[in-house]
């Protein structure tokens, strides 16, 4: 394993030297490694957690429901070291050890914050929701038009070819809709809406005169032959890992492509504690790691460093780096590092009953739903808050867990439950959160993790704009369902703690001005231009679309720019 030599002599330095170091192996880290390795760079990918091998380590993925000792429910023993995940809906017997132990790496909640962490090769790419939507110029221009925060340094035309590039490789299924606010892409065949969803879509379109769109979700699932992977088999067991490679993950997609080049080395159990910075050249020279198993410290060297440790952890690495020059860390000269943290509205929704369709059913388990696209504050629509939201949901028939009013127990009750129940429909809102300087993460210097490293303190909350939008999400959702003939429509808002949307972002934003941003438009740290941050940290606003596809596109763009700059001798 690289780094085994303790004495840093010249030979060891040579052994520990690569062209590029990628910190993190999730969605964006996988992309960085693949692009850099395919361009011929020798790449070291560092992952703080364990090795996690495609197929082999998806222990429960082939289980039938009855083969789980607890039929999918987590045990108290599994929950105990994971108090954060215990507060979420993400706890399921088969995947509990995919989540990090919060007890080993705690964080301080100045305000309530849910931080879902998966520390193993592949990171959260195994566990993501797979919804994949492009941004449009409505999103890239939003800050400038609203006069909020700072302008994005890029526009759709800059990123469009990179969306094309990543979609073709990742495999995104979806329908061409011609919507200006949700650009079409390089899609594999779409999945299908079911009968009820199709009719609800048509009724909403009709009622709102073609201005509102309920479409099939755009999902990173293979729905047509795709190199080196098998098609989605509609088992809906994605989170355990897919033995078919039916959905995009580091393991199914970017990692094998990167390995194929012969240029990639992966080192698990490598907790990057800082970026090594040379004040004379004003560049990074590599990184320092703590081996998470042995607690030993090592240094690795490279010409470029990509931080893809997830929005919060990449900011944390920067805060820990070059503190002799900048007390608040590398990239802190603007005063924005760790600030402007965003997420998406989550944990609120609308549901109701659908009359009829008793003679209709579906086949297969579609790991996808419908997407009701944004309409607020678009095309002349004006609300008492900024930005917008979408909804994701599905219609289905009642299962055995439903109540049957006139039957309580016994043979008739049992027989009734063996048949599908009436149709129901539900959807959850996903909405944009604004960036606020005061929503931030900082180092809590009084507390340490298992490895003696400082931990993060979270201090972020929803504000007035978000609260107004939350209310509107429910009101508009209810109105649309009622317009579509749904009965007994109810709304619920379970409240939102930042992190609930699992879309934390914005802690090292990009911009045109080093005085107000941490990164330039190519994701380079202004203060050390051979350091790139291409996970959610770079985001300047959050839009309302699921962000992973955008992280992929920016990462591929930045990686290719890095290689170009390296070849020109600019970094």
């Amino acid at each position: 394993m690289p780094g085994d030599s303790l004495n840093i002599n010249n030979k060891a330095v040579a052994q520990n030297t690569y062209d590029a170091i990628v910190v993190g192996s999730g969605i964006s880290g996988g992309w960085a490694a693949k692009e850099l390795a395919q361009r011929g760079l020798k790449v070291l990918m560092l992952e703080r957690g364990r090795e996690f091998v495609h197929i082999k380590d998806y222990k429960t993925a082939g289980y039938n429901p009855w083969e789980f000792p607890h039929r999918g429910r987590p045990t108290q023993e599994q929950l105990k070291p994971r108090p954060v995940i215990a507060r979420t809906w993400g706890k399921s017997e088969g995947i509990m050890d995919y989540w990090a132990k919060d007890s080993e790496a705690p964080y301080t909640e100045i305000k309530p914050f849910k931080w879902w962490r998966a520390y193993q090769v592949g990171g959260r790419s195994i566990l993501w929701g797979r919804q994949s939507y492009r941004w449009s110029d409505f999103d890239f221009e939003a800050n400038a038009k609203d006069g909020w925060a700072i302008d994005w340094p890029v526009r759709y035309k800059d990123i469009q070819p990179w969306y094309d590039h990543v979609e073709k490789f990742a495999g995104i299924s979806g329908s061409m809709e011609g919507l200006q606010h949700l650009p079409d892409g390089q899609f594999l065949p779409p999945m299908e809406l079911n009968c009820v969803e199709k009719d609800v879509s048509a009724r909403i379109k009709d009622f709102y005169k073609g201005q509102r769109h309920l479409i099939i979700g755009r999902a990173a699932h293979i729905t047509a032959p795709h190199p080196d992977r098998e098609q989605c088999q509609f088992r809906n067991r994605c989170w355990e890992g897919c033995m078919f490679g039916g959905y995009f993950s580091t393991q199914s997609s970017t990692l094998p492509a990167a390995m194929k080049t012969g240029n990639l080395t992966v080192r698990p159990w490598s907790l990057v504690s800082k970026v090594l910075y040379d004040k004379d050249t004003k560049k990074a020279t590599g990184v320092e790691i703590v081996d998470a198993e042995t607690n030993k410290t090592y240094e690795f060297y490279s010409k470029i460093v990509f931080l893809n440790a997830s929005a919060l952890n990449s900011a944390w690495v920067l805060m820990n780096s070059a503190t002799d020059i900048w007390p608040d860390g590398l990239g802190s000269s603007s005063g924005e590092l760790g600030h402007n943290i965003m997420d998406h509205h989550y944990n609120l929704g609308i549901s109701g009953d659908v009359d009829g369709y008793d003679d209709k059913y579906y086949y297969g388990r579609r790991a996808n739903g419908f997407y009701l696209t944004r309409f607020a504050n678009l095309y002349g629509d004006k609300r008492d808050y900024l930005r917008g939201f979408g909804y994701q949901g599905s219609a289905s028939r009642g299962s055995w867990s439903r109540d049957i009013a006139e039957l309580s127990i016994g043979d008739k009750f049992k027989d009734a439950l063996t048949e599908p129940g009436p149709w129901k429909i539900g959807m959850g809102g996903f909405g944009e959160l604004l960036p606020y300087h005061e929503n931030k993460i900082t180092l809590d210097k009084d507390r340490k993790d298992k490895w003696g490293l400082p931990i993060l303190a979270m201090d972020a909350e929803l504000k007035d704009n978000e609260k107004k939008m939350r209310k509107d999400i429910l009101e508009e959702g209810k109105a649309m369902f009622e317009a579509a003939g749904i009965k007994n429509v109810v709304t619920h808002d379970g409240g939102h703690e930042i992190g609930d949307g699992i879309h934390e972002m914005g802690t090292a934003r990009m911009g045109n001005d080093p005085k107000t941003s941490v990164l330039n438009k190519w994701n380079q740290v202004w203060d050390a231009q051979n350091v790139f941050v291409t996970d959610g940290a770079f985001m300047v606003s959050s839009a309302c679309q699921n962000p992973s596809l955008t992280y992929m596109a920016f990462t591929a763009r930045a990686a290719n720019h890095a290689v170009d700059e390296l070849k020109k001798g600019n970094i």
Partner: protein, 189 residues
């Protein structure tokens, strides 16, 4: 089948003599105590199986007992339940049997299938009524826990998922709109 008949059948099966027959017979007289601890006994499991079977009896498809729902309940209660629900469940095992004595003059295990059924209909109503005014911090009703575990344990078991419902491990495709006719079984997952 009464207890004496049952005993003679067992005796036939094992070739004429039953060790501990006296204890088995006298069991009719001293009430069995259920739910003494989380180390569930074979008697606990047998009892829970009969409760579950009353909720989901064998029809033209297997019942809860064949799906080993009694054992399933003990595993979940022991490993997954929080302390509060564990307590409610253990006490509930006793309360259910007491309710049987009160209503039918005999223990649940001694009751006829019809008596068992009528008892659980009452308890289901009691639990639903309790649920209507229950605050989130109030304890769950024990029968709600038992019923929930029974349904979940049964319909996710192999007999439940594959015989009472339709289970396809690898569907291979999705079709959003297919015909359904009354009597077709629901998908297991």
């Amino acid at each position: 089948m009464n207890r004496r008949d049952a005993l003679s059948r067992v005796a036939l099966l094992v070739g004429g003599s039953v060790i501990g027959a006296e204890a088995f017979l006298s069991g009719c007289k001293t009430a069995t105590k259920y739910g003494e601890s989380l180390n569930f006994t074979p008697e606990d499991i047998a009892y829970l199986n009969e409760v579950a079977e009353t909720i989901l009896p064998a029809t033209d498809t297997p019942g809860a007992k064949e799906a080993k729902v009694g054992e399933f309940m003990t595993v979940i209660v022991k490993d997954c339940y929080e302390e509060k629900d564990q307590k409610t469940f253990l006490e509930g095992m006793k309360k259910l049997d007491e309710a049987s004595t009160k209503k039918n003059g005999k223990s649940f295990m001694e009751s006829t299938p019809q008596q068992r059924h009528d008892l659980l209909v009452d308890l289901d109503k009691e639990a639903k009524d309790y649920g209507k005014t229950k605050k989130p911090e109030d304890p769950n009703h024990y029968f709600s826990l038992i019923k929930q575990l029974t349904l979940w344990g049964y319909f996710t078991s192999e007999p439940g998922a594959t015989k009472a419902l339709r289970y396809v491990a690898v569907p291979g495709r999705y079709e959003g709109c297919i015909p359904y006719k009354k009597g077709d079984k629901a998908w297991a997952t």
